[in-house]
């Protein structure tokens, strides 16, 4: 199971790096989504996988009985997903604004804040 997830993470990172190297910032954003999910999976698998043992406490007991999965990585991943979602929403809106005000999605053409020397007149 670990091997499968590790390969998945590798594929996700490879695809996202490919996307993020594009000049189109929209593709960059899609790459960012993929790599943030790769990071979430990394946390999940680094917390050790325990199959079929939900971290639940039986009725009447004070603590979990027998082997249970580690609940902490799950909590961390959940937090990271929520934060990542917020940032992604912001980034998408920013790209939309960029497209409507700057008229381009290509990072090479975004030179208003730092104009090339030959553009300065």
């Amino acid at each position: 199971m670990e091997a499968l997830i590790a390969i998945t993470i590798g594929v996700l990172v490879a695809a996202s790096v490919y996307l993020m190297l594009a000049r189109n910032v929209l593709r960059f954003i899609f790459g960012l989504v993929l790599i943030s999910n790769a990071a979430n999976l990394t946390i999940f698998v680094a917390g050790r996988l325990t199959e079929g043992a939900p971290p639940l406490i039986p009725v009447g007991a004070d603590g979990p009985v027998g082997d249970v999965a580690n609940a902490l990585p799950q909590a961390l991943v959940l937090t990271a997903i929520v934060i990542g979602f917020g940032l992604f929403a912001f980034a998408l809106v920013l790209m939309f604004r960029a497209y409507s005000t700057l008229g381009t999605l290509y990072s090479d053409d975004m030179r208003i804040a730092e104009p090339r020397t030959e553009d300065k007149t």
């Binding site: 990071a39 920013l94 700057l102 975004m110 804040a113």
Partner: protein, 499 residues
């Protein structure tokens, strides 16, 4: 006990809520000023407590460390919180006249105070994942502040700022996951103990490099700084002042914290890299500044160059060098925020920050010239201003362990810094205004003059105080360095519960 540590953290968020609710009236901005004044009081209380007891810690929600989230303040954290509060107060007064009503209606004051809350949280937390969360709080509010107003340059700079910072965040998050997998804890004090028992120390070094890159992007070190000069000259002056003062310094703080507390196993490798990074950051930053012709762009590149000095202190890792880094942090935040505030006044009176289009400030606004002179030449390291002592301690530390090359680089960069400061001085202040305008301060309304100049004067006065009586500050920095290099007190206070 608990409240001394939690108050500086809660206050900015409370202020943010009040400022947001009152954003359509004048009350909103005054809530921001009052909230930050109280924050300064609370942070001074915290400082007094830390000076009294060394390290103080509290467990949130009553969960014993290392299971719950710990808030912890040692000398370094405490001084960073105080300096954050000072900057926040100065900028919130400045913002009274700098931020127009439209930006206020969009929630400028709320975002600003959330940003301050995030910065304070990052300084006070003792939990690695919690540090990530504070970084995010800081990041999302800084995104908002950066593009508030929606000018073309802001959107353009914002895209670079947002994308590069998000990549660093993801590296940071993956690093946390891997470190948790190896040590089984997220509490930084507990991690410092557990990291030595990890079998595969090579893997620890790999994760250390991930953290170095992640924090390196935040701190704007070579070669990861490109987002900074792309973005920092675009937003409102209050915003770029608080960014310049605080944001990169949170990255430096996180580097200092992690690379003295947790990643001290393979110093020969990690800190050697840091030393190279420091030298290259100093040089590229100052050379970048020399090529610019806009006040804020020059100052932005100077941030990069100055970050190099702080990293140099961390990389040398002797008591004196780390003390130099701490002293440099404190001095730099005050000076840098002040310079951006002054750039704002220069634009308001002379019409631009582009050095080709302004001039005559020395003749028409001598007060502003004096106020600029103090932080600018403190940054360049003129004796007896605060920057001189900061550079002196660092260079002395480098010579002490015979690091001749880094000492030479530090001195050379100091010289080049003087060169670019004299460039601003000659162009903006000495040369006559190209359009024959007299950029007198009376062009501002009396109210604006008061709101804009009081924070600048207060920060300049602080630079003078540090410059003329550096002894207590250097002693404090040395104590802070001693705590950082021997984190026993930090670890026992955190893990021993309420001490």
């Amino acid at each position: 006990m608990t409240w001394t540590l939690a108050t500086p953290l809660v206050l900015p968020f409370l202020t943010a809520v009040l400022a947001f609710l009152a954003r359509y009236g004048a009350a909103g901005r005054w809530f921001s000023v009052a909230g930050n004044a109280i924050l300064l009081g609370a942070s001074i209380l915290l400082m007094a407590r830390v000076l009294d007891q060394g390290v103080i810690a509290t467990q949130m929600g009553g969960w014993a460390a290392p299971f719950g989230i710990t808030l912890v303040a040692d000398y370094l954290s405490a001084v960073m919180v105080v300096i954050t509060a000072i900057t926040a107060l100065a900028v919130s007064v400045y913002a009274l006249s700098d931020i127009d009503e439209r930006k206020e209606h969009l929630g400028y004051h709320a975002l600003f105070n959330i940003l301050i809350g995030g910065v304070v949280g990052a300084f006070l937390t003792g939990d690695l994942f919690n540090l990530y969360v504070w970084f995010e709080v800081m990041l999302i509010s800084s995104f908002g502040l950066l593009i508030l107003g929606g000018k073309k340059e802001q959107i353009d700079g914002g895209i670079k700022y947002v994308t590069l910072n998000l990549i660093s965040t993801i590296l940071f998050l993956s690093g946390i996951g891997l470190l948790y997998g190896m040590t089984g804890t997220l509490n930084m004090a507990d991690m410092a103990r557990a990291i030595d028992t990890v079998e595969n120390q090579g893997l620890v070094t790999v994760v250390a490099m991930m953290f170095m890159v992640a924090f390196g992007v935040k701190a704007a070190v070579f070669p990861l700084f490109f987002w900074l000069p792309a973005a920092y000259h675009t937003p409102a002056f209050s915003v770029s002042a608080v960014f310049a003062g605080l944001l990169t310094k949170v990255g430096v703080y996180a580097l200092i914290r992690m690379f003295t507390l947790v990643f001290d196993g393979d110093i020969g490798f990690t800190h050697q890299i840091l030393l190279w990074v420091a030298a290259l950051t100093m040089v590229t930053g100052v050379l970048g500044a020399a090529a610019q012709n806009d006040m804020r762009k020059i100052l932005s590149f100077h941030i990069v160059s100055q970050i190099g000095y702080m990293i140099m202190g961390l990389a040398l890792l002797t008591p004196l060098a780390v003390a130099g880094a701490v002293f440099y942090l404190v001095h730099h935040i005050i000076v840098k925020a002040n310079l951006f505030l002054i750039a704002g006044v220069a634009e308001r009176t002379a019409g631009s920050t582009n050095l080709d289009r302004i001039g005559g400030l020395y003749k028409s606004a001598p007060l502003l010239a004096v106020l600029f002179f103090i932080p600018a030449f403190s940054l360049a390291g003129f004796p007896p201003l605060s920057g001189f002592w900061a550079k002196y301690v660092l260079v002395a530390a480098a010579i002490e362990i015979e690091g001749w090359i880094i000492a030479a680089v530090a001195l050379l960069v100091g010289l080049l810094t003087i060169f670019s400061m004299t460039k601003i001085w000659a162009e903006a202040f000495w040369k006559p205004h190209p359009e024959g305008v007299d950029p007198e301060l009376t062009r501002l309304t009396p109210q604006a003059r008061r709101n804009l100049l009081i924070p600048i004067a207060a920060l300049a006065a602080m630079t003078l105080v540090i410059g003329f009586s550096p002894d207590p500050f250097v002693t404090f920095a040395k104590d802070a360095a001693a705590q950082l290099l021997d984190p026993t007190a930090y670890i026992t206070t955190v893990l021993g519960g309420e001490a």
